[in-house]
Symmetry: C2
Subunit: 400 residues, 2 copies
């Protein structure tokens, strides 16, 4: 198969991948970061009724007409209304009601004065208002914030704490969200030794499960970590066959190059996987093999950590985004200025970097096996084949 661009490769996979259409109702307080599965409309106004913004006295605006410090309006305090209550007593002209923040205005009263601006007399039976209060002054009308019937959350929006607080304010106990995709992660390699034990000669510890698995977690997924597998094609094929129908996608690391133990080509043959592409015309992460098996994408990344991460960002993340209806996981680009020089190379490169104040800082070395300098990076610089670039040159960055 021909090497292709990362863009072509992504298009080939996206064309074949389904978006999960099923949804579930879950409690609002458990829905942070989930994708809203339907348009949510306001079932009520917010505030639900005309209410007071302060503690003080509600009155009829007309009853304060002409009031002044020398000649205050003297009003009878007919009662008190607390937040959560409905004031039901009949009110006459010249009546005021002591009202608390958030309490519903008694019928017929159209404004209020804050308690620090009045004088209370006769043991609380009367209140003196020393200037005219306009109609609807200190008066919060029902629906001022949200009108009944208004669109609250668009289908497909990722739910933030603010969206969910709005739904709570509207009385929703549950919210319909898109089902969370089930993505498997299978790391392969006879060279992988278990953590927490001394390292046998020639072996390495498995950093890919953590690197790719926790990157998935950071993006809001809960990957299924499959047990690490050795380099035996029949065994790996059998494992994939066993789990694939419980998954929406399977990501693997290792064994996708051209060595004798790069078994995934053989695994694809054994299973009859529909191969979509093998190898990008860029590096690192060029050694990536993708196919569709029983309707699910098999996304086989390099065993070199930074190569695996690059393949993840270029291909796997947007694929997971499509499955999960997560628009925010599509490729996002930004033009940035280089903070150093780059020599020309015959192949397109993706270089780990950190954008700070509009400039992209990058480590001297970008080898695919190097992991230490991944810390703090927030983008991949897209360096065209053959381009020698000096500090200050503009390049495109793919944002993490």
């Amino acid at each position: 198969m021909e090497r292709i661009t990362a863009e072509e490769a992504l298009r080939l996979v996206l064309d074949k991948v389904y978006t999960r259409q099923d949804s579930q109702n879950i409690p609002v307080n458990e829905a942070l970061g989930r994708v809203c599965a339907g348009r949510m409309y306001a079932p009520i106004d917010n505030p639900p009724f005309d209410r007071s913004p302060f503690d003080g006295f509600a009155l009829r605006s007309a009853d304060s007409a002409g009031a002044s410090p020398a000649n205050p309006a003297r009003l009878r305090v007919a009662g008190t209304v607390y937040a959560g209550e409905v004031y039901t007593e009949r009110l006459e002209r010249g009546d005021a009601v002591r009202i608390m923040t958030g309490a519903m205005f008694p019928a017929g009263l159209d404004c209020m004065v804050m308690q620090e601006n009045v004088r209370v007399e006769n043991g609380g039976a009367e209140v003196l208002v020393s200037e005219p209060v306009g109609a609807y002054e200190n008066y919060v009308r029902a629906g001022e914030d949200i009108r009944k019937g208004q669109l609250l959350v668009e289908a497909g929006e990722r739910l933030s704490f603010a969206h969910l607080a709005i739904l709570s304010a509207m009385g929703f106990a549950d919210v319909p969200v898109k089902a969370l995709p089930s993505v498997g992660l299978l790391c392969t390699g006879d060279e992988l030794a278990p953590a927490g034990k001394p390292l046998p000669p020639g072996k390495i510890y498995n950093s890919n499960e953590t690197l790719i698995g926790l990157r998935m977690k950071e993006l809001g997924f809960f990957p299924r970590f499959l047990p690490v597998s050795g380099d035996e094609a029949g065994m790996v094929a059998a494992k994939i066959d066993t789990v694939i129908e419980e998954l929406d996608a399977l990501v693997t690391t290792g064994a996708v190059s051209v060595g004798e133990k790069d078994i995934f080509h053989e695994v694809f043959k054994i299973l009859g996987v529909e191969k979509l592409f093998w190898r990008l015309n860029s590096k690192p992460g060029g050694a990536i093999l993708c196919g569709i098996y029983r309707g699910r994408p098999l996304l086989c990344l390099s065993g070199n950590p930074f190569a695996a991460l690059t393949g993840f960002e270029l291909i796997v993340k947007p694929v997971m985004g499509k499955i999960a209806s997560r628009d925010d996981l599509a490729i996002r680009k930004q033009r940035v200025k280089l903070d150093g020089n780059l020599e020309a190379r015959p192949i397109r490169r993706f270089i780990r970097a950190r954008i700070e104040d509009g400039r992209a800082k990058f480590p001297a070395d970008n080898m695919s096996g190097q992991i230490f300098s991944i810390v703090g990076c927030n983008c991949l610089l897209d360096i065209p084949a053959g381009a020698a670039l000096s500090a200050g040159s503009e390049v495109e960055a793919l944002l993490y």
Copy 2:
């Protein structure tokens, strides 16, 4: 008590709040976002041994001296070494070894050629190298990425997927992390009605639990949601008394103003809470009451949602940051240009806004009861008392 600035208020609380010193060892793959409790040093090199970056043939550089397409060096293929293996056979001058990506270099061989650049003859028994290969060409040295003894993660760093992948590469199964603070959230108010049921007249649904609780979750905490409470001081005091020792901090909403049911002043008296401050000289969120009870901060926010959120960002978030050793939760400021005009007001204001391309967009209205326009905001604009500002003016923004 005098109204004080948000900065003075924060200092008063921070002075009295402890930082949790206890830590726990947890599996690396479960430590995303946690705070590293100790300096982590490399127990081994990475790579742990000299290894091949490609599939091909390892050889002695000297054996390829003078090779050319017309006169290639003909080497005997003495064997094969796969990733994970140690090649132990004795090698003579003129011997090559087939080597796979990631495999350890056999002792005595100091470079390799990629398999696409050689010719294999005699059924794999010989390999022809048609140009000289330099010493250490295509040769990854042990420790090139990470040196044994090197500092990997500083104590106090928040662990990203990249930090944790490094720890995995070093063979750590577990990582010591700071204990996660236990923060309680108690919403009070007789006006609060349960979600999922019709709203009785005069009542409102509780949005503060979701707003503040999920904001905490977004920041990496798992708040303990206490059952909603009515406005009875003795009852609320008893509840606080029951749970306080299981918590590192308690956040409440509602009942902190000057109304008759603003019971927290009474709660503080009943419990004998050491009061630190009451009320900021800013709004919204000025009605905030803080004290220390049995060594833990009680942080009592307004019942108005946006006022509660403002108090959370100004005071609670940095306090949680201190308890949890999370430097990233300290107040972060940025100067931004206003995207609209603001009239002067006699009191300092914090206005919800969204910074986009260096400009701060803000809704026309910033009332503390309004919740809809919180969506999408990512900062609070700090508007000094008395300042009339026109579009393009620079102000300070507190970043969420």
